[in-house]
Assembly symmetry: C2
DNA sequence: TAGAGTACGGTACGTACCGTACCTTATATG
DNA sequence: CATATAAGGTACGGTACGTACCGTACTCTA
């Protein structure tokens, strides 16, 4: 990145550019993300983030009231996002498999430790907004699964409107569950199992039952 | 030489009997469980446990090296256990429903905060044994589900040996997932959904496919 | 039953981290 | 240039962890 700024003189006196606003905010978030990647959620401390960003805790606390909020902000900005544009290959199995494989890596990047830490520390009862996991109706991954199913319906591979929300979100739910309970070591075989042993049989059972 | 009155009466009042061994250990575990129930995992401190057990931190740390281990021990001893003797009513749906409803309450009693806290703090990479969640092959709940399925096979409701482990553990996995992601507010409707929209259709799909 | 080993009670300590208070200083904006 | 704003920086109070140390009660054995 642009290192065009003069860093501070050693005596801390005048001479260095003092970062403000978005520049400083981005530096803090970048530092938080780096700390998260290097040491994980538990070892991330506000002090370490401030030091890495070459600032101090005060500047951090001016923006985020606690560690959980800071980490969430860092995740929103830097965590790899799955592509929500689901591939439309003409085959439901392929579409679902590639979609799940596409969200596996971002999930791994965040890691179960961070999720558990956030869910553990976050005061969900008093601040119901901005949870680590949104409700199904606002879940972008669920929406993507719905569009995949919708594509299959359009091309006649599925009869329209017969899959319940539980069936549609089943692959995502199970993938997340595996993620949370296996210390992050989710192999791609598991995705294939979820699709071939659970999701596709359910889809076919539905279409045959009608 | 102070007034060294040595009370050796077992039901000693204050200042008399000094508890040891199992007596003290049980008192500490009881205190830990009470703290867990009252304040949850995050607010439980080793100091508070010691005070409640009318002892001191040293006695606690002599037995358990950290908070996570202490809480696990308290859970093993005091958390309500689901009955693993699955009912054999002659109907698979009823068996699974009652089984799931039977494990719902114990899961609620432990609560997601404790599980998240344990999963977050536990050094699972270095000590792979005695995890909060055992692998499927040693999971008592999975074994119970297998016996329920086995009963259905014996009475001819299912064709033997055709359900994969993923199908068998699906209800447990999803119930746990709901538990972890909904702050513990899992209604019984969800159990019915899991059974009627996912598990039973899968079971029927399997038997029709053969 | 004496003596030795063990483990509890109790206190104090060092570390780590949180979150805040307070002051100084740079800089954007009028 | 004047001023408000926000960054830099330090220090502090508070909580909790985990350990060290010591004196003492209890237990077990010779």
């Amino acid at each position: 990145m642009a290192e065009s700024k003069k860093e501070q003189a050693p005596n801390g006196g005048s001479g260095g550019t003092r970062r403000r606003g978005d520049v400083l905010e981005n530096a803090i978030l970048q530092a938080a993300w780096d700390e998260l990647v290097e040491g994980g959620y538990n070892r991330l401390t506000m002090e370490a983030v401030a030091v890495r960003a070459q600032t101090n805790k005060t500047a951090v606390y001016r923006r985020w009231p606690n560690k959980a909020q800071l980490v969430i902000a860092a995740l929103v900005k830097f965590a790899p996002k799955p592509s929500l544009e689901a591939a439309d290959t003409g085959d439901l199995r392929t579409d679902v498999l590639t979609f799940l494989q596409g969200i596996l890596e971002p999930l791994q990047a965040i890691g179960p430790e961070t999720i558990h830490g956030l869910m553990s520390e976050y005061p969900g009862k008093e601040h119901p907004m901005s949870k680590p996991l949104p409700p199904r109706s606002e879940d972008a991954l669920f929406a993507a699964m719905k569009s995949i199913v919708g594509n299959a319906e359009k091309r006649g591979e599925l009869q329209p409107g017969h899959l319940s929300e539980r069936v549609i979100s089943l692959p995502i739910d199970l993938l997340r569950y595996e993620m949370l309970t296996t210390h992050g070591q989710v192999s791609e075989d598991i995705i294939v199992q979820i699709v071939d042993e659970l999701f596709l049989p359910l889809v076919r059972a539905k279409s045959r039952a009608d």
